[in-house]
Symmetry: C2
Subunit: 219 residues, 2 copies
């Protein structure tokens, strides 16, 4: 199992996303040229990246979309069945909990924790929790943060609270033994020892756009 370079790893989620689109369209095979067009890279780079994953292609044919998708999913841990707890029943917290962003990557949201009272209801059969009008996935409830001890998931903490609450909740996350933090807030967090942190930096990409509009263009 070869070691992948950082640059390759950072591009794999993009291939993953684009390959899903091909699957949804019923496409069975793809060439490096075609895939390059979809992900916005050069065909040469695509071949290099995919070759780093193993012998997945076939000369004169291309790549099997499904094989590629499965291999990338497995490399990135999308099949590991990780569970996530969302910290903060904010509009953003509820939006990601309800979005396909996590489920499509094999991550199951088991709970949303709120720090202030929120509107909670249920609907449907089997019943789903509806929080502030947002319908949450099956088996995902909304609880006050004081109930954290009763929730069993300890894989991923999705940090989606307001900025003021970050220090407090971050400590809580670390103390309760979570393995990783997906940080959706504007603050930059650092991991340590056994706690892995990935800062999503959502807003940063907006500034690449404003930069592009401000001066010449970007790619």
């Amino acid at each position: 199992m070869s070691q992948l370079s950082r640059a390759v790893i950072s591009r794999l989620p993009r291939y993953y996303r684009c390959l899903r689109i091909l699957i949804n369209n019923g496409v069975l095979r793809v060439s490096s040229e075609e895939l390059a067009g979809l992900v916005g890279l050069s065909a040469s780079q695509v071949r290099g990246d995919l070759a780093a994953l193993g012998d997945l292609g076939q000369q004169g044919y291309g790549y099997s979309v499904k094989t590629l998708y499965a291999e990338i999913a497995s490399r990135l841990g999308a099949g590991d069945g990780f569970e996530a707890v969302v910290f903060g029943a904010t509009p953003m917290g509820l939006a990601v909990a309800a979005s396909p962003a996590l489920s499509r990557r094999g991550v199951r949201v088991t709970a949303v924790l709120h720090t202030k009272p929120v509107d909670i209801a249920t609907c449907g059969d089997p019943p789903k929790t509806v929080c502030c009008g947002v319908v949450l996935p099956d088996c995902c409830g909304v609880y006050p943060i004081t109930e954290l001890g009763k929730i069993k998931s300890r894989d991923i903490a999705v940090l989606a609270c307001d900025d003021e609450e970050v220090p407090e909740l971050y400590r809580l996350i670390a103390d309760h033994g979570f393995a990783g933090v997906w940080n959706l807030t504007e603050l930059e967090l650092r991991g340590f020892a056994k706690l892995l942190v990935v800062n999503a930096r959502v807003g940063d990409s907006l500034m690449l756009l404003t930069y592009g509009l401000h001066s010449g263009d970007w790619e």
Copy 2:
């Protein structure tokens, strides 16, 4: 006005975010060493990046936080007063419209457009629009997408609809002469000619976390 390398530009939004934290804490000056700790880079790299922006530092002293912040803001177009229209009154669309993500970067949301009927109310004085329980910024209304022609903003289109609606709305955005698209959906879009596209790829960063949990670690 020196040309910045792509690598430097991609890091500027991060400095911007971290410098704001310093400002909020009343910090007036910072050394490359301290700033490096905050943003998670090496001091050497920080000095290199900031030197590329011009002569902002002072030997033996460090950098003025405010000067740095202002310079980066101006380079990235945060002071250009861009306006944004959100396409899709989805949980995600409403979340970013209400979040400080745009306002902190000098982008003002003037409208949220829905493709399906949504719950709209107003509250406060001056009155703010509340959509599905989410309180929107001043002067930001929610309208059916058919009203797009009546909205004047043509800077940034924030694409936050469901995946199925992307092709249709993307065409609408291009046809109405928007300058840029900030794409929050899972689809990978390509810009052309006069339309600049930045794919936010929010979910991609989650996979860097699952990769880290799956195998060894990440940084």
